[in-house]
Symmetry: C2
Subunit: 343 residues, 2 copies
């Protein structure tokens, strides 16, 4: 069944109001604030909307609150994009002017910016290094038997790993091996480096084939485990909202959000999509049944390498959050691009 114009208008007003106030919306209040129908009419419409599943009543004599179905409709069709004030977008831009010490710092800054501006919780996943191209590998001697491997990709991401080295390889040889690998695999995707190697080894590296192979293996392994990092910011913002005035609710939320693995999985899944909005029980993540998650992906060199998002109560200000995410997405793209002017 289709909703007529009036129902839509009323529903929107209710959602808007509830997002603001967090308390059930009554017919009287609505009719007084710029609605052109009497409270009785609105009351009738509200009853209809309830039977249609868009509204719910906490108890008989309370106002109505939007259901998830209502939010879904709101997000898909009804909300009008908020646009950020100049002030806000300048503020946002400011976060990206500072901290240009590398990709990690930028993404950390992004998380902070998001959480501070939205007042919700922000998560940002570090770029998936596997899809990027190797630029440089450098092995730095630490002590006999140990070295530090530094990997740089075209996205500027670097990753340090302590690796074991046969004791008889000296600093000079480490340096030579670094150069050889860099030369050989420059511009290859990280994910293909190891398998490629096994086949085409030969040449100067063959004497150290075992070592090199285990080295690359370690790096790849590390990429998939250690890189599963998400930057979290503003988790405690949620304590501001009445939804979390109960300590136990708050605890559950905080515990969920601190499971970096889950957050990573969630963001990873969302990184193919330009934007996603997941409302309440649509969330697979246990513990987010009362939250909504809005994400956006970011790309480097045209390839989507990661995503970031905002987590808030289901009554979050979707329009505003989406505008902010869009803005951040653009800014982030620009900044990351600046790490690789060449190419």
């Amino acid at each position: 069944m289709e909703l007529d114009q009036r129902k839509l208008q009323i529903l929107r007003a209710i959602v808007d109001e509830y997002i603001l106030s967090a308390s059930p919306v009554g017919s009287k209040a609505l009719s007084q604030s710029g609605m052109k129908w009497s409270s009785a009419t609105i009351r009738n419409e509200m009853a209809d909307l309830e039977t249609l599943g868009y509204l719910a009543q906490p108890h008989t004599s309370a106002g109505r609150i939007p259901s998830e179905k209502a939010y879904r409709l709101y997000v898909d069709q009804m909300m009008q994009r908020a646009h950020l004030s100049d002030e806000e977008s300048k503020l946002l831009y400011g976060y990206f002017r500072e901290h240009v010490h590398g990709v990690d710092a930028v993404l950390r800054s992004t998380a902070k910016a998001l959480s501070e501006i939205t007042h919700y919780t922000a998560v940002v996943m570090m770029p998936d290094i596997g899809v990027n191209r190797l630029k440089h590998l450098q092995l730095i001697p630490l002590m006999p038997g140990k070295a530090l491997a530094v990997v740089v990709t075209d996205a500027g991401v670097s990753q340090n790993t302590v690796i074991d080295v046969p004791e008889d390889i000296g600093p000079e040889e480490l340096d030579r091996i670094s150069k050889a690998i860099t030369a050989r695999f420059s511009d290859c995707r990280m994910s293909t480096v190891s398998s490629k190697l096994v086949r085409e080894l030969g040449g100067e590296l063959s004497a150290r084939a075992d070592f090199v192979e285990s080295l690359l293996l370690t790096l790849c392994e590390n990429q998939s485990s250690d890189r599963r990092m998400v930057e979290l910011s503003g988790a405690t913002n949620m304590l501001e909202y009445p939804e979390y005035s109960d300590v136990n609710k708050a605890k559950t939320f905080l515990a969920t959000v601190e499971q970096k693995d889950s957050m990573y999985r969630m963001l990873k899944k969302a990184s193919n999509m330009e934007f996603t909005v997941t409302i309440g029980s649509e969330n697979e993540q246990e513990g987010f049944q009362d939250c909504s998650v809005v994400t956006a992906s970011y790309r480097v060199n045209g390839t989507p390498v990661g995503s970031f998002g905002v987590i808030g109560p289901t009554r979050m200000d979707y329009a505003r959050v989406l505008s902010i995410l869009k803005n951040v997405q653009t800014n982030l793209g620009t900044v990351l691009q600046s790490f690789l002017k060449e190419e």
Copy 2:
């Protein structure tokens, strides 16, 4: 005025009990649980202890709770060192067996271990790189005009910084400069590297004096700002305790603990001391007036380079926490030492 034996015994019992239960301790309960005096006697002694400032009454007709003065006395003189069960110390040791990918990972693991075992909040400061000796500097070309500087010290700590490079310096020259600096300043304290340089420059680096100087300056700056890192773990553990069942209290605590700068300052100050116990209002840190902080320092090569600690309610289990810290201190020392077998 001195406290006689009986007063001490009663006070200890009260503190022990209150640490466990978090609710005011009454005379009757005490006399029944193994005290050899009647409730009336205990009641009299409690009244004395109150006038002496060791106990407080939330209201007439409630039991007594220990004052900060009481905790101080308890920590300084009365508590008996708990010793960890074999299970626990094995568990603790386990945290150090895993994650041996470098100092950062170890300290992150330390924070996690501390918070999980104590059920309080743990903070660990990253080692102060300035007091360590440079082992290796490597500049890795990122793109024309940018490079990544990787610094390795004798503690195995590495730090990555993106730096600007004059466009006319190619990869080969960067490599040469890296080697030259490494050769020249190997085994110098990081904090002395920059000043030393200005005077003794000359030689092969002189052609690039400007660049090298700004490079080292940047590194030092970065060391003092970016390195001010603390690893935080288990902040939400505090929500388990009745002291924080009020969301606002919780919020204040979480906000405080997330100010990494303050946490760093706190730990830095404590890093000269083997152990510290700071109770309630003894804390300078605003927001910790209802908490206690227990810290321990850790050393590398005999030099104290950092510290770590546990933050909990003032009624924390000091004995247990101190034992755990001591244990961790030992473990951490061993592990860090293993990063520098040589020397």
